[in-house]
Symmetry: C2
Subunit: 185 residues, 2 copies
């Protein structure tokens, strides 16, 4: 079956704890966790979005180690997951690339804990049947406000049991993928 | 509302990649990710289970830093999440402690990617209404076989889109908590 969803992990533009727009650092752990989750749920790509060339080189170096270096023999499951990863300089490139891979228009789906009047996960799941999506996840304290002014739909925030909502991006991505692509068990 | 679920992150007995029973190392990241996810979904406790005293001391030191040290002022949300964490020397102590806190019998729920004929997540969610649960998560390559011979129920593995099932424990815990305690969005 053709993948209907891909992930973009955005390192710029995101906000920091004081709501300033910053470029966050690529972390080894996000890469591994998100790739394994993406692979488990049949996502087609995980785009690491960063404009910083040194960060792009770091990411490529980690990927090389696990895909073709020592790591590929040591842990083939990890290599398989990391083959999904591509580095992109900005979100527009990731969208264009995912569109090319899908041979069809795709829909970006923004995410954030402070989204108001967002699209429900059930509605987003139904929409996937008609059009592939790119799930856009922010690092740091979340995607910068400017991204929400582009006319792209945003998902309703995940609801915990109360007001506390500080899920790690690795946990939020897993829950959303399960809601969009998971099977009942 | 009283919490109905707690988590136990087990570092012994677990298996390594060669299915040998080992004690895994406590990691800073598991602690932070799982505590934030637990707090978001209203879990009552996160037990870090390790028999190694040096590892227990390490965990306590990390917790102290974020709960009352520099970290508590720097990041109060994180302090709030980490207040859920308790160190336990073994799974039995975690069960007994959670039972005490709930003032009622509790049910351990084992997890693993290779469980056969497990309890469905929907059934487990219904059971929570009658009895609080302790969700038992393995680090490394999963909980040791001996734990599955204790007569405790085990959850049906999460289903991705195919045969690949190598979710990070941080992702699996998030998805299971969402299925057991999450609200529809």
């Amino acid at each position: 079956m053709k993948p209907r969803v891909a992930l973009a992990l955005v390192h710029y533009p995101v906000v920091d704890r004081n709501r300033r727009v910053v470029t966050s650092a690529v972390t080894n752990l996000d890469l591994h966790d998100l790739a394994r989750t993406a692979r488990t749920y049949g996502a087609g790509r995980l785009f690491l979005v960063t404009p910083e060339e040194s960060q792009q080189r770091l990411a490529e170096r980690i990927l090389r180690h696990w895909r073709v270096g020592f790591g590929a023999a040591y842990n083939p499951d990890r290599a398989e997951a990391l083959r999904l990863v591509e580095v992109a300089a900005d979100l527009e490139s990731a969208i264009a690339r995912w569109q090319d891979l899908c041979c069809s228009p795709i829909q970006p789906l923004l995410t954030g804990a402070r989204v108001k009047n967002g699209l429900s996960l059930a509605a987003a799941r139904r929409r996937l049947e008609n059009r592939p999506a790119l799930l856009v996840l922010g690092t740091g304290w979340g995607l910068a406000p400017a991204l929400f002014e582009r006319g792209w739909p945003a998902l309703e925030p995940l609801q915990g049991s109360g007001d506390y909502n500080h899920l790690p991006v690795r946990a939020a991505a897993a829950i959303i993928l399960d809601r969009l692509c998971g099977r009942d068990v």
